[in-house]
């Protein structure tokens, strides 16, 4: 009778009183990663931020992490488990975690939550934005200068505002040095899907592009596809020039560590507050990756100068007057974008080709 066995086992497991030892000297910080931490991309960069915190605040902050957490109610369980194990602050490092975060945050007012790229108000929720687009603009300058055919490809995951910012800024960068170039966008609708990404990259290359940019969580597939098809590639999230020794141009990468350490320190000091943070080139969180050997010295200097101007505020990427590709004015003359405007971006600038799903 197999079911007697199972009843027996259930009783065994329930009665089995095994409790993990409770050490409560350090503050525990939990990290949710949407993919594997060895993806050489988004999650890898996030995890490096976590390791930085462990090192910098050793003995004061202890971190726990779970990889491959889906952006669904599964995330609730993972967060609840972290809290049950004593986590006092939780970093939700992907766009789609907001809904589960809000549910868990309501149940645990004593735990602090950090949500990336989204807006919401709760006393124990702080959101943080990354201006990846500032780096994308600089990468666009490189791409615009390096493209001979004036056709540039862009493989992108989801049509959400952070990615639209990247694509638009990239196109503005391209157009700032090369008015004839176009940026052709293909959506994959997946953060990670090597097969679809390779197909999209291949399709763009067959269409005659000579520079390929992208915004996908795990960059290796596309970088390698570009290298093997002799197409220049612009990297994303981490410095992956090792995968395209000949055709790597540059890329936009992240340095989350100092920011995460600062947030954790504020929890230790008791100064943590709800609110919104911006991580960008000025704060040093958004960086330009190393240049590939194909990029000539004058161009490197040009990009470095533009980077300096973005950092000191004299160059604003989305500066009014800004029109979308249908000709509607999105920013009036002299207007500067704020985070709310950026977080609601739902248009393409002129020079971008491809469909934009309706909102």
């Amino acid at each position: 009778m197999p079911h007697i066995l199972f009843v027996f086992l259930v009783i065994c497991f329930t009665v089995l009183p095994v409790y993990s030892a409770n050490e409560q000297k350090t503050v525990k910080a939990g990290f949710l990663f949407v993919g594997p931490i060895n993806d050489y991309g988004w999650n890898c960069a996030q995890n490096e931020g976590r390791l930085f915190v462990e090192k910098k605040l050793a003995g004061k902050i202890q971190t726990v992490a779970v990889e491959n957490v889906p952006e669904s109610a599964e995330a609730e369980r993972v967060m609840e488990r972290m809290i049950a194990q004593g986590a006092k602050i939780i970093f939700a490092t992907s766009f789609g975690y907001l809904e589960p975060v809000l549910k868990v945050a309501r149940r645990h007012p004593d735990v602090k939550f950090m949500q990336l790229s989204r807006f919401d108000k709760r006393p124990n929720l702080r959101t943080y934005f990354y201006l990846h687009y500032q780096g994308s603009y600089l990468a666009g300058v490189v791409a615009g200068r390096m493209s001979k055919k004036n056709k540039i490809g862009f493989v992108a995951a989801h049509p959400v505002p952070p990615l639209l910012q990247s694509i638009n800024a990239f196109a503005l960068g391209v157009r700032s040095v090369n008015a004839k170039a176009t940026v052709k966008v293909v959506w994959t609708n997946k953060w990670v899907d090597p097969a679809v990404e390779a197909e999209a990259a291949k399709g763009l290359i067959d269409n005659g592009i000579d520079v390929l940019a992208f915004d996908q969580s795990a960059p290796v597939t596309i970088v390698k596809t570009a290298e093997s098809n002799k197409t220049y590639v612009i990297g994303c999230y981490t410095d992956d020039c090792q995968f395209a020794p000949n055709y790597w141009l540059t890329g936009v990468s992240f340095d989350w560590g100092p920011y995460y350490a600062r947030i954790c320190q504020s929890v230790l000091d008791g100064t943590w507050q709800e609110g919104t943070d911006v991580c960008d080139i000025k704060t040093g969180n958004v960086k330009l990756s190393s240049f590939g050997k194909a990029v000539p010295e004058p161009l490197r200097k040009e990009v470095a100068a533009a980077k300096e101007k973005i950092a000191n505020g004299s160059l604003v990427v989305f500066a009014g007057p800004l029109k979308d590709r249908e000709g509607r004015e999105r920013l009036s003359a002299g207007a500067k974008p704020n985070i709310k405007w950026l977080a609601g971006m739902n248009f393409f600038v002129p020079g971008v080709e491809g469909t934009l799903p309706k909102n």
Partner: protein, 356 residues
């Protein structure tokens, strides 16, 4: 004649041995990778059943698996392999989402939930009707058809959340609007355990009654185990097959309904991380017995939900946890069969010895 109790004892020890064998085999793998299997196993068990929170999360994970396994069991009783429960679950989710998004927000909660459940059942049953009709009238294998329809269902969900049902307030993120509060199933205070669990348990017990003590159950069993005899006895074979698939689809759809209503609060992709397939596995581990299904679902739910605590406490990478789960599944299935034939031989030997 060997006593019934002794036969049961042998089968019982066989099952225990098969489970132990699975854990020992995976334990060797863990030892080789430099981990202590004992701490890993205690980690899984405490993560699954260690305290009230873990237990509640185990029940949350077990609920959809239970629905799906029961759905598979209904079809399996008539010899049908309904591997399309995953798709029927998704269509159930679609059906209840439609009601939740179109009914006015002021609808009383009981009415809203009832309509959502009904709509889910209808959608799931109709989706299961496709392989049923193809099987009955065209003699096309229902396993293949229902399996392939799972992809149709998943893509239909993707279409709806990327297209007509996409939430206009969150920019381009693939999900529907959040359901109104009246469309949320009641929860057990302080946990995510929801009414769906109770419904699944009731369905399990009802199914046990229907299958074992009604004429329908008896005829179903005859059709399932010997269709020739059923034909000879002039049983309405076609009607039974279709009704079974409809019921199966409806029960699977309730899993989708309870997930969108109680857990997600909206329709989104990644709604089911393969609950249908897990349910299929559970049904076979439990030998299609509804009561055993309930128990095995809870065990497996614990195993699935407890595993992420390994990432937290043991700092195992996700991939290792995944391999661990897969290996234990394989060993459970494989060793169960191997040991069953062994225990059967032992039983026969004992019987022979007793007879002589």
């Amino acid at each position: 004649m060997l006593s019934k109790a002794a036969g049961a004892m042998i089968a019982f020890s066989g099952s225990i041995a098969s489970m132990l064998f699975g854990f020992v085999a995976v334990g060797i793998f863990l030892l080789l990778s430099g981990r202590n299997p004992a701490t890993i196993y205690t980690g899984i068990f405490t993560g699954a059943f260690g305290d009230t929170f873990c237990l509640s999360e185990t029940l949350v994970a077990a609920t959809p698996i239970m629905f799906c396994a029961l759905a598979v069991a209904i079809a399996a009783r008539l010899g049908l392999m309904n591997i399309g429960v995953e798709g029927q679950l998704l269509f159930g989710a679609i059906g209840s989402t439609y009601v939740a998004l179109t009914m006015p927000e002021t609808t009383p909660s009981w009415l809203m939930l009832l309509l959502m459940a009904l709509s889910a059942c209808v959608c799931g049953a109709l989706f299961a009707l496709i392989p049923a009709l193809m099987r009955v009238f065209m003699d096309i294998n229902e396993t293949i058809v229902s399996l392939l329809l799972n992809y149709v269902a998943a893509l239909t969900v993707e279409y709806l959340i990327h297209g007509p049902w996409q939430d206009p307030t969150t920019t381009s993120w693939p999900q529907t609007m959040a359901f109104p509060p009246c469309a949320e199933m009641p929860h057990l205070e302080g946990s995510r355990v929801h009414l769906g669990l109770l419904v699944a348990l009731i369905i399990g017990f009802l199914l046990m009654l229907v299958l074992h003590s009604t004429k329908f159950g008896f005829k179903a069993k005859v059709i399932g185990s010997n269709p020739q005899a059923a034909l000879y006895a002039k049983y309405p074979l076609k009607r039974y097959l279709i009704v079974a698939m409809l019921l199966s689809g409806a029960v699977a759809a309730l899993a989708g309904f309870s997930q969108v209503s109680a857990i997600e609060g909206r329709l989104r992709s990644g709604l089911s991380p393969g609950y249908g397939y897990t349910g299929f596995l559970v049904c076979f581990l439990a030998k299609h017995n509804p009561i055993t299904i309930i128990v095995v679902s809870i065990l497996l739910g614990g195993f699935l939900s407890g595993a992420d605590s390994l990432q937290l406490s043991e700092k195992l990478p996700f991939a290792t946890v995944n391999i661990l789960q897969g290996m234990i599944f394989i060993f459970l299935l494989a060793s169960e069969n191997a040991l069953k034939s062994w225990s059967e031989k032992l039983r026969l030997k004992l019987q022979a010895a007793e007879a002589s």
